[in-house]
Assembly symmetry: C2
């Protein structure tokens, strides 16, 4: 093997980098050379950031988005309207909606979407927690903002059905283009 | 700022990832979410690989390519012909040539190419070390394999001139396409 002509620590680094999404052998290799060329302090701060992110970041106990503390910054923010809950699949979807700077309510992160083939049923998602939040708080509206994928749509339909029994207005976030719509 | 709504450790991680070459804000953000989704042991092994690579990898005392030990695997290999030295700019060029599996000699890594505008003169490169190797060992041939860039060509011309005084055959690695050549 060609790679055997390179130090073991170098090969290990390339193997580790290749595990990251979107990083193939060529990119891993380029990153590894870049890392070797940097000062040790820079590499240390990258390594520390990785470990800190994993150990310090937790999930908000209300909405299950990323949090420093018990509650995330959005749930802790007094100016946000707690009566409107936007239901999303993942914390990254919270970020995407926040970028638009329009939504003033709060979120609920399900932790995925229904996908029976992958063994993800309603029990694997934070649907019970959503129902509890609606029951225990004066929630007026739930906006279902799951992704426009098969499993996201299935989740939206499932949620709409079980939320019918609650005294809340349920809306579905519109996608950019209607299905089957002409541009 | 939108990002303030995310944990500080998350923002720090994104900032650190953005310092890597070819990683913009979107990729950094995607990588950060991926890192959070992984098991702590996986993140630890990535962090350790980064630190280990930086602390354990050294430069071969003969050719200045990457090494685990005093000598790199190529210089330590008895089957390689020590009388032919291929001169390259960086350790990554050694890897590129090794991939072809044709060259059976050894290397000499200059550590860059002449670039007066960046303050890189002959003293900043490992040219003295190359001359010493040629003087102290039975070297028959030097193949100049600097890159086909302005500074790589300048380095090749400079090396060819100073190597004339030595009793070695000097050749220049051909590029794929001759300059001004028609395809």
């Amino acid at each position: 093997m060609i790679m055997n002509r390179f130090p073991e620590a170098f090969r290990t680094l390339i193997e580790e980098l290749k595990k990251l999404p979107g990083i193939g052998p060529r990119t891993a290799y380029r990153l590894a050379f870049f890392i070797l060329s940097r000062e040790e302090t820079h590499i240390k701060s990258l390594a520390e950031a990785l470990l800190r992110a994993k150990s310090e970041i937790r999930l908000c106990r209300l909405c299950f988005s990323l949090a420093d503390d018990e509650k995330c910054a959005i749930c802790a923010d007094e100016s946000r309207d707690k009566s409107i809950i936007c239901v999303v699949e993942e914390p990254k979807d919270v970020f995407a909606i926040e970028k638009v700077r329009e939504f003033k309510g709060v979120y609920h992160v399900l932790g995925g979407a229904l996908s029976p083939i992958d063994g993800i049923g309603p029990e694997q998602l934070r649907i019970g927690e959503l129902l509890q939040r609606i029951r225990e708080n004066p929630v007026k509206e739930v906006i279902i903002a799951t992704n426009p994928t098969v499993s996201g749509e299935a989740t939206a339909i499932y949620l709409a059905r079980i939320l019918k029994e609650q005294k809340v207005k349920v809306t579905r976030l519109a996608s950019g283009i209607p299905y089957g719509g002409d541009i």
